[in-house]
């Protein structure tokens, strides 16, 4: 795998790189693999404890422990537009990542979702560069919880069978980036 530290710290005229250094240079800073999944069906929950969003999970096995993993995810949905809230977290395995600091009783989350009308959906998204420091299979996923009522993914709350209501898709993509 590319290890840019094997390259010369500075280049000068007429420097000839070795084959290994050329390979390192070729491999540096590039996307080594991409894994993605798209959820096209719906998911609804009334759970007040964080629970996995079915179908919003991907597994990637980094080829080097120095690699970065770029996570790009968006989900579409809503929460009842009353005075209630829903929260979404990005996790590596069982560890929440890309969440805010603990601050009193507030919920550390990646993002929060609440639509203004029962027939609306909104998009929540995250872009996060992770450093898992492993070559083992690593799972990235989203989970969610509500404070009360229900949270809806890929549908509006009212979800009437008319053209004015949307059925949407949500996606999570991970990319291994050479260090």
């Amino acid at each position: 795998m590319a290890a840019v530290t094997t390259l010369p710290a500075a280049f000068v005229a007429n420097t000839v790189l070795t084959a290994a250094q050329l390979n390192d240079l070729r491999g540096a800073f590039r996307v080594l693999q991409v894994v993605s999944t798209t959820k096209t069906d719906t998911f609804t929950t009334s759970s007040t404890s964080f629970t996995d969003i079915t179908g919003m999970s991907v597994s990637i096995t980094p080829s080097s422990s120095s690699s970065k993993i770029l996570v790009v995810s968006s989900i579409n949905g809503c929460h009842s537009p009353s005075n209630n809230d829903s929260f979404v977290r990005l996790l590596r395995g069982s560890t929440a990542i890309s969440i805010g600091d603990t601050a009193g009783s507030r919920t550390p989350a990646t993002f929060q979702m609440q639509a203004g009308q029962t027939n609306w959906t909104i998009t929540g998204s995250v872009i996060y560069l992770d450093s898992p420091a492993t070559t083992s299979a690593t799972t990235y996923k989203l989970d969610c919880r509500v404070t009360s009522n229900s949270m809806y993914i890929n549908r509006s709350e009212s979800d009437a069978d008319v053209a004015g209501r949307a059925r949407t898709a949500s996606t999570i993509t991970v990319m291994e980036i050479s260090a």
Binding site: D41, T45, S46, S47, T48, T51, S150, A160
Partner: protein, 82 residues
């Protein structure tokens, strides 16, 4: 087709569950006790659907009543809120 998420949200308040997809088979019950049967949820759907269909009209009627009570038009209300 029964909107199981709507029935569960409106008739099983305080109970916790997840529903993956639109079908009853996607229902996972997280609260204590057994999950409601598909037949029980199907039986509740007509009244829930009627309730949902009536909500926009009820909301519109309440808005008109409030505007009348305040003695202002919808445009004037929008101006105040803007």
């Amino acid at each position: 087709m029964t909107d199981y998420a709507a029935v569960l949200s409106r008739r099983y308040a305080g109970k916790e569950w997840t529903l993956n997809g639109d079908d009853y088979t996607g229902l996972t019950w997280l609260s204590d006790g057994t999950k409601p049967t598909q037949a029980a949820l199907d039986a509740l759907w007509p009244e829930v659907q009627e309730e949902m269909l009536a909500e926009p009209a009820a909301k519109a009627a309440a808005k008109v009543a409030l505007l009348t009570r305040l003695g202002i038009s919808a445009d004037e209300a929008a101006l105040l809120l803007g």
